[in-house]
């Protein structure tokens, strides 16, 4: 293992893809060995910035990334892509198909790409992404595009560790825009109406602009349209994204991203000890309910017992 660790360290430093890939797995399997590998390579100031890309299924996120990535990489960034797909809550398996739309770009460039499954567990996804970010930072990457699943808590967690957030929408998704309002709409930096070759793109753009102008405070959010068929607006979107990235305060981004993650890990540990502390509660709950105690008083009594 000792030899292996130093070999992986060397590989990471040299940017060897096999070593990078193996380290991302290692961070999940064996954090202790992983910490040995990154010793001397890890520098918190060099954690890559994250461009989080989200939006409803089928709006063209993967295709858009495949066209956006080469332009961003050509602007002088060492770029990687992380694509997230949902795991089945029943079997734990996942179909990771983002490469289908990206393979042309990936095989004609040196952009590193990794598919990650959500694996169900709450917060587990951010841990996987963090592992990948730390590994990539040791290999000299400075920018990572993260394609997210498009909804729910897992999505929100990822956006929380992003320095720039793109919300991708497509014409004809009126109801989806409604659904997005709670959450993603507030934190997106750039709104992208993709598939602008389809009718209704201008209308979708207008409705988003109307929504934004109804918000309080100064509006710094951008709205733009793209078409992956005609390549319209792709370069402009890349410019907008890089412009936003340039304005990001690295120290603030890192403290926010890591602060959120450390907080999450701490809460997870706490909830484990709460589970332990409340193990014997079932019996007293049944007893109190039997005695006709109302749910509120019962819960309060349990809390008081715990605080004693």
């Amino acid at each position: 293992m000792g030899v292996e660790a130093s070999r992986l360290s060397e590989g990471l430093k040299a940017g060897d893809r096999g070593s990078i890939a193996r380290c991302i797995t290692m961070a999940e399997d064996d954090p202790k060995a992983f910490s040995k590998v990154i010793k001397g390579l890890y520098d918190p100031k060099k954690i890559p910035h994250v461009i989080g890309i989200t939006g409803p299924p089928g709006c063209g996120k993967s295709t858009l990334i495949s066209q956006l990535a080469p332009i961003i990489a050509a602007s002088g960034h060492k770029l990687a892509i992380i694509a997230i797909d949902a795991s089945s809550p029943f079997s734990g398996g996942a179909f990771l198909g983002n490469r289908i739309r990206m393979e042309d770009t990936l095989s004609s460039s040196s952009i590193f790409m990794r598919s990650i499954a959500t694996r169900g567990a709450k917060g587990g996804l951010t841990a996987s992404v963090m592992n990948a970010l730390i590994t990539l930072s040791c290999a000299g990457f400075d920018l990572v595009i993260v394609e997210s699943v498009g909804s729910g808590q897992a999505d929100f967690d990822i956006l929380n560790i992003s320095s720039t957030i793109l919300l991708v929408l497509a014409p004809g998704l009126g109801d989806e825009i409604q659904a997005m309002k709670a959450g993603t709409m507030e934190i997106a930096d750039i709104f992208v109406i993709n598939k602008s070759e389809l009718p209704g793109a201008d209308q979708a753009k207008r409705s988003i602009m109307a929504y934004l102008s109804s918000q309080q405070g100064k509006n710094t959010k951008k709205v733009t349209t793209t078409s992956c068929v005609s390549k319209h607006g792709i370069k402009e979107l890349a410019d907008l994204t890089l412009e936003h990235e340039n304005g990001v305060d690295t120290a603030a981004f890192i403290s926010k991203a890591f602060g959120t993650e450390v907080d999450r890990i701490a809460k997870e540990l706490m909830s484990k000890s709460i589970d332990k502390l409340t193990q014997g509660n079932a019996a007293s709950i049944a007893k109190m309910l039997d005695e006709g105690v109302d749910p509120y008083s019962a819960a309060l009594e349990l809390l008081q017992k715990l605080e004693k």
């Binding site: 890939a21 060995a33 990771l96 490469r99 095989s107 790409m113 990794r114």
Partner: protein, 147 residues
Amino acid sequence: MGSGKNQKSSERPIRILLAKPAIDGHDRGIYVLARAFRDAGMEVIYPGLLPTPEEIINIAIDEDVDVIAISLLNGSHMTIFKKVMELLKKRHAEGDIAVVGGGTIPEADRPKLEKIGVTGNYGPGTPMNEIISHIRKRAEEARANKW
């Protein structure tokens, strides 16, 4: 290699790359397999049609998969599967990543493929459970080699 580590890694879902290399557009079967593997709890990576052997190896290494499952129905398995194995060796990943084959493979070719390290080589009509348990076995071997 500590025992605790092995226990931990076996909890992680098997990562498998499904690919139809070279000119073969018969993708119905691969979708059936993708679904079955997903439902068996595996993380299935599918890169779309027509990847070259070089692309398959690049993807397998980037994604750090446990198993590459390759299928061909066009009769070029002896050439292409061999090429995949050669490239895997060239990248020093032949022990870490297991290669499992399938498709329309004549009985006479199966031992030849086994010899170069492509196991399974299942034909149409093979019960899904047989394929899945073979993949699980090969994935376990690959993981044991990894660390």
